[in-house]
């Protein structure tokens, strides 16, 4: 492909950009207006928001005018900046991943938003967003990137292209979307967002008076009402989270195109994330307590780029919800190198008491104090302690590790059991930690970190000899001989 002329985005990008800016501005602006108009309305109060609005609009148009992009066989060149011009050229084979989103604005104009993940250490710097380009162009860019990667001697088997499967490897049924939304713990996130939103208004909502009111109601006979209020807020947040997740997971499809895994999802906002297989750093299986009860789990892949999925950096959800027995074939089809059905080694028996005692270290004093303060009935709180010990025992049962010549698998947790499968060539460093107590029992904590900064998995209280074994496994051949 020859170098195209410098091109601009579709004009709908202005609306999409301005809309996003406005969404961020709306809460502070509301505060300003509301705070100003506390003592009667005057036109001066509107001035600041109006100025902000006009500024955003003008900047939106200007930055659209100044934003150009082009690409050829080797490079993607993006120029941007209203006052300070910034020109960035990105070698195509360096691009970590591309995700394609269709927001509401983009859908109106029939275009897509392309999110290009590039190498870089600073979050936010390491990405280029082409806010509105034609779908055909987006596909062409994707193909160019793939071609550039293949040319540079990356994994490329001709057969793979021959029998490439475009049929979906994994989809979610309506029922599964429903279950996934019900069981994913998004409610806390909604409550946090609500709190963050309310804290913007602390200037003119008399929180202190409110707290005083609540206290007096609490001390009176209003406990029931407050409990009801809190319960209903939580339920509402839960409902919002369910709806959010349903929109998020609607029409979820995983496909494999040659050496790229393409994950498409979303209802109001279609999103397609493509992850090259050779950028995958590991496979993580999360089984929350609730989902395990129904025989379900969720599968994510650790990805070297940033947060393509909008979730935590480095993890892309491959299957939000899947029956356990389907995991192995699906992952096998996506990432044939990984072996998930490895036999896990349990932890030694002497670790059990440590697992059971550990939650008690920090629970005993607060629970004891609370039980003492609310004396007659608070004593029931003491039941928390055996429960914590029991959970500790479950955690002990859940933890384990497995090792093959190429792959290390670590498993831990009970509420949310996490199994990580990591390839030897992706393990960036391995750490064995022994505290004084552990040394007495000949136990050790192992943790292995993989590529995106801060991604690691660990298992506490592995037998010391097993830890040594894993340590030697990562050592080079030469040091094994000595």
């Amino acid at each position: 492909m020859t170098r195209k002329a410098k091109r601009r985005l579709h004009p709908i990008a202005i609306m999409a950009g301005v809309g996003k800016e406005l969404k961020n501005m709306i809460a502070p602006l509301l505060v300003i207006v509301a705070a100003g108009s506390r003592h009667g309305f005057s036109w001066n109060d509107i001035l600041v928001p109006l100025a902000a609005l006009i500024y955003t609009l003008v900047m939106g148009v200007l930055s659209w005018v100044r934003f150009t992009y082009e690409w050829d066989d080797s490079c993607l060149v993006v120029e941007e900046g209203v006052f300070v011009r910034k020109k960035r050229s990105i070698p195509l084979e360096r691009i970590h991943g591309i995700s394609i989103t269709e927001g509401i604005w983009q859908r109106i104009a029939g275009v897509v938003q392309v999110h290009v993940e590039t190498p870089g250490n600073v979050p936010g710097e390491a990405e280029v967003i082409l806010r509105a380009i034609a779908r055909k162009e987006a596909r062409a860019l994707q193909q160019c990137v793939e071609r550039a990667k293949n040319r540079n001697g990356h994994v490329n088997e001709p057969e793979a292209a021959a029998h490439r499967s475009l049929s979906p490897l994994f989809t979610l049924t309506m029922k599964e979307i429903w279950i996934a939304s019900l069981t994913s713990g998004g409610a806390l996130g909604v409550v946090a967002a609500l709190c963050a939103f309310l804290s913007q208004f602390s200037d003119f909502i008399p929180y202190e008076a409110l707290v005083r009111d609540i206290q007096s109601t609490w001390n009176g006979h209003g406990r029931r009402y407050i409990a009801l209020l809190i319960l209903s807020i939580l339920l509402a947040a839960y409902g919002v989270a369910i709806v959010q997740n349903m929109i998020r997971y609607a029409s979820f499809v995983v496909r494999k195109q040659e050496d790229t895994i393409v994950i498409a999802r979303g209802w109001l906002e279609r999103k397609a994330v493509s992850v090259p297989v050779d950028r995958v750093q590991g496979v993580v299986i999360h089984e929350s307590w609730l989902r395990r009860f129904f025989g379900y789990a969720s599968v994510s892949i650790i990805h070297a780029g940033g947060a393509l999925d909008g979730g935590p950096s480095g993890e892309v959800v491959l299957c939000p919800l899947v029956k356990k027995h389907r995991i192995v074939p699906i992952v096998q089809a996506c990432l044939p190198e990984y072996r998930l059905d490895v036999p896990f080694c349990p932890l030694p028996q002497r670790a059990k008491s440590r697992y059971m005692l550990r939650p008690l270290y920090w629970l005993t004093i607060p629970v004891g104090v609370a039980a003492y303060m609310e004396r007659p009935w608070g004593a029931a709180l003491l039941l928390v302690l055996p429960l914590a010990a029991w959970i500790g025992a479950r955690r002990y049962r859940a933890a384990g590790w497995a090792l093959s010549s190429k792959q290390l698998s670590l498993r831990s947790g009970w509420f949310r059991r996490t199994t990580a499968h990591l390839f030897k060539r992706h393990v960036q460093s391995l750490e064995i930690e022994t505290t004084w107590w552990q040394r007495k029992k000949q136990l050790a904590t192992i943790s292995a970190s993989v590529m995106p900064v801060g991604t690691y998995s660990r298992v506490v209280d592995v037998d010391e000899r097993d830890a040594d074994l894993i340590y030697r496994w990562l050592q080079g051949e030469r040091s094994n001989e000595t």
């Binding site: 393990v427 460093s429 391995l430 750490e431 064995i432 930690e433 900064v453 340590y471 051949e477």
Partner: protein, 160 residues
């Protein structure tokens, strides 16, 4: 248990850590005096102030007297052609293995205190984290840095 291999870091590290410990003791001393002042204003009982003073004394003894020595004694590092092996920790012993192929780049760092004693630290960066070997003699640090860079390159070539 893995064999306790590797070289110790410079003994001058103890002095450097004693100085940093002393500086921190000054800072926390100021905080504790502030707390004592506030407590005194609210007519706190005498034993509260005594306890604060005790905490501060224990901290000074630990961070100036005891911990630096132990820390220097526990520190071991081994840089081999295929990996970097780091061992450290007072309360919990940590042992870290970094395959040479994963090393992205190496820094030599030297703060004012380290410089005063002719020392320098090495920081090894992988794509996942940074690992530091503190308080080596400056010229040795320089050498090691170059050596790691060299080996990391060789290892990378073999890997490709």
């Amino acid at each position: 248990m893995l064999a306790n291999s590797g070289k110790p870091i410079s003994e001058k590290a103890i002095t450097v850590w004693r100085w940093t410990g002393a500086l921190w003791a000054l800072v926390s001393g100021a905080v504790i005096v502030g707390m004592a002042w506030v407590l005194a204003r609210f007519h706190a009982p005498k034993w509260c102030l005594g306890m604060l003073a005790c905490i501060w004394l224990i901290e000074v003894v630990l961070w100036v007297g005891w911990v630096p020595v132990l820390r220097q004694r526990r520190w071991r590092y081994a840089i081999r052609e295929e990996e970097i092996d780091i061992q450290r920790g007072v309360w919990s012993t940590k042992r870290t293995l970094i395959p040479m192929t994963r090393v992205q780049y190496v820094d030599v760092r030297q703060g004012p205190l380290l410089k005063r004693y002719g020392l320098a630290s090495i920081a090894v960066f992988t794509a996942a984290a940074a690992h530091e070997i503190p308080a080596l003699p400056a010229d040795e640090a320089e050498q090691l840095c170059r050596l790691i860079a060299e080996w990391a390159k060789v290892a990378d070539d073999n890997d490709a």
